[in-house]
């Protein structure tokens, strides 16, 4: 194996990991505020399609990213309206969001299926979005751990009752965190349809939204560990594409199973330690909050 091949593998890994970094960091913030949004896959799909359509018509990747982020945000606000204002079950609503997003993107994307998309300009092997994703990790870690709004988000995620009693705006903070999650999921989808696989096909994300959800658990809700997990999964995607070149005598279907099986393995490794979960999981995760007064 030559050195340039190894470098190509590593840069392919970082690129494949980028949508996961975006989506998982966004979901991490929502979960730190106590909201479990299982609609990541749906938000990514709609974001991917919106970005693809806008960038194809306008020729501007920047507008494409804006459209992807906007589409993700719109779906996230729909989720927030249902779960936060109307107090619906977060698990069921998240599933509905994923089903809705899959259907919506399949219908609206039909005329674009199979078209090649625009390509990104690169800087030191990578495009600007990779650096943006990398920057999101320290940024989120800093906001969550070092700023006032981060402290409030964590307080709302641990005990919304206490935060409410102290006069903090629980709902607004949760709306913001869920919206941020949607924005980043949309960006992740946009990067997928404009850079990783610059094209649109139905179900383009192939479970990446769900893998992002698993990454949040893997990260034990700490941004830096998201990066580690995303690179691990990015590497697996690349390995699967290069298995033939590396001469691995494994059928393609089994290589394609790797990311899904690895997700299960990673979840088991984290969840088998109940103390780790108890210490790190936001205490009110998935529980609705309704202020009576």
């Amino acid at each position: 194996m030559s050195g340039s091949y190894v470098i190509a593998l590593i840069s392919a890994t970082v690129i494949a990991a980028t949508p996961l970094v975006f989506a998982a960091v966004g979901e991490l913030v929502a979960e730190r505020a106590g909201v479990l949004n299982l609609g990541v896959e749906g938000m990514m799909l709609v974001g991917a399609l919106a970005a693809f359509i806008v960038s194809t018509h306008s020729g501007s990747l920047l507008l494409g990213f804006a459209a992807g982020a906007g589409a993700g945000l719109a779906l996230a606000l729909l989720f927030a309206l249902l779960t936060l204002t109307l107090q619906t079950n977060q698990v069921a609503t998240g599933l509905a969001l994923t089903l809705f997003g899959s259907g919506l993107s399949a219908v609206l994307g039909r005329p674009y299926a199979g078209h090649p998309g625009a390509t990104m300009p690169v800087l030191f092997h990578f495009d600007a979005a990779v650096y943006l994703a990398l920057a999101m990790v320290p940024f989120t870690a800093w906001v969550l751990n070092r700023t006032r709004v981060g402290l409030l988000i964590r307080a709302v995620g641990e005990s919304p009752q206490t935060a409410h009693a102290l006069g903090k705006a629980v709902q607004s903070l949760r709306y913001g965190a869920v919206g941020f999650g949607g924005l980043l999921s949309g960006l992740g989808g946009a990067y997928l349809s404009m850079a990783v696989t610059p094209m649109w096909v139905e179900g383009l994300t192939a479970g990446r939204g769900w893998i992002a959800l698993a990454l949040v658990v893997f990260s034990i809700w700490k941004p830096w560990r998201v990066l580690l997990g995303a690179w691990l999964f990015g590497g697996m995607t690349v390995l699967q594409l290069h298995a033939q070149a590396l001469g691995l005598p494994v059928p393609g279907e089994f290589m394609s199973m790797l990311p899904y099986l690895a997700t299960i393995l990673v979840l088991v490794l984290i969840c088998r330690n109940p103390r780790l979960l108890r210490l790190n999981q936001p205490a009110s995760l998935g529980r609705p909050f309704h202020a009576e007064h």
Binding site: L38, G42, L78, L82, L86, Q87, T88, N89, V91, A92, T93, L95, A96, L97, T98, L99, F100, G101, S102, G103, L104, A106, V107, R110, E202, A206, G207, W210, L213, A214, V217, P251, E253, F254, S256, M257, Y260, L261, T263, I264, L267, V268, C271, R272, P274, L277, H290, E292
Partner: protein
Amino acid sequence: MPDWLPALERRPAPSSVMRMAAPLLAALAITLTALLAFAALDLSPWSGLYTFFISPIASAYGVGEWLLKATPLALCALGLSIAFRANVWNIGAEGQFTAGAITGGGVALYLAPQLGGAGVPVMLFAGIAGGMLWAAIPAWLRTRFNTSEILTSLMLVYVAQLLLAWLMHGHWQDPQGFNYPQSRAFDDALILPLLADGQRATSAVWMTALLALATWVLVRWSYAGYRMWVGGEAPAAARYAGFSEARSVWLGMLISGGAAGLAGIAEVAGPIGRLQTSISPGYGFAAIIVAFVGRLHPLGVVLAALLMSLLYLGGEAAQLELGLPAAVTGIFQGLLLFYLLAADVFTHYRLRRPPVARPA
């Protein structure tokens, strides 16, 4: 929130009237949405509605198709309703459906000739066992390693589909099939009998009716069903009463997995007649919505499956006659669940009238 807006106020007890009315409200809302969508697409709303909801079932063949698509939905959703009652979130029914099709299909392709008359029952049981096996993985991971069954059962959907694709491109591929990714056709003796001539629904409809009855007995009359229900409604009370959570998880996963596996084998040994890479238009995922819209009650689930089946047929008719993509069904499925969940707010809450402003 501004004072003049009506606010939500928790009801002392959930409203049973609203609980029953919510699915009807959701169905009404989805019809209105369809009307608006047709109007927006410059189609006549009424002829659009007719095409979507009436014309597909206006013939005996159409009614058969309606039952044909409702069957796998109802089978999967009946199992899921038992799991969801116990707060066991199996969302991988699509994978268990595929696993059941693989194991049952394997029996049909390679064991049935040696089994003679026992072929069909063995094939069906193999399908159920395959679904159970696939659901046992998340159950074991949850009870042994505390791993969320939501994510693991979903991941296994992709694994099952890839496994089927591998078999269809390799060992189980029909050598005379012009390299299509499909197995040879099952023997005629193994294909489930039709309900009536001139349509395609099979005897799986009777299995569904039987499962609905069994589900009703389980949730309404059995101690096991009661323990699972308490575990779902009040986990702390269930722990205090000594009801095992692990037992609920295992029962919920195995029952829902087995039902999905039965749906899978009934589909490939029914309308499809062979194994192939694509065997389901998302029945396992749509069944999640069916279970909720049916209020996790057996009769409700069967009715909701008929509604969902109509959405599938309507999507196909809309594709043929109105030129809309069939994926419209997916949008309607998601919206239906949104509407139901939103309508359900009024099961637990009521609107509090804004206080009348009094001069000081």
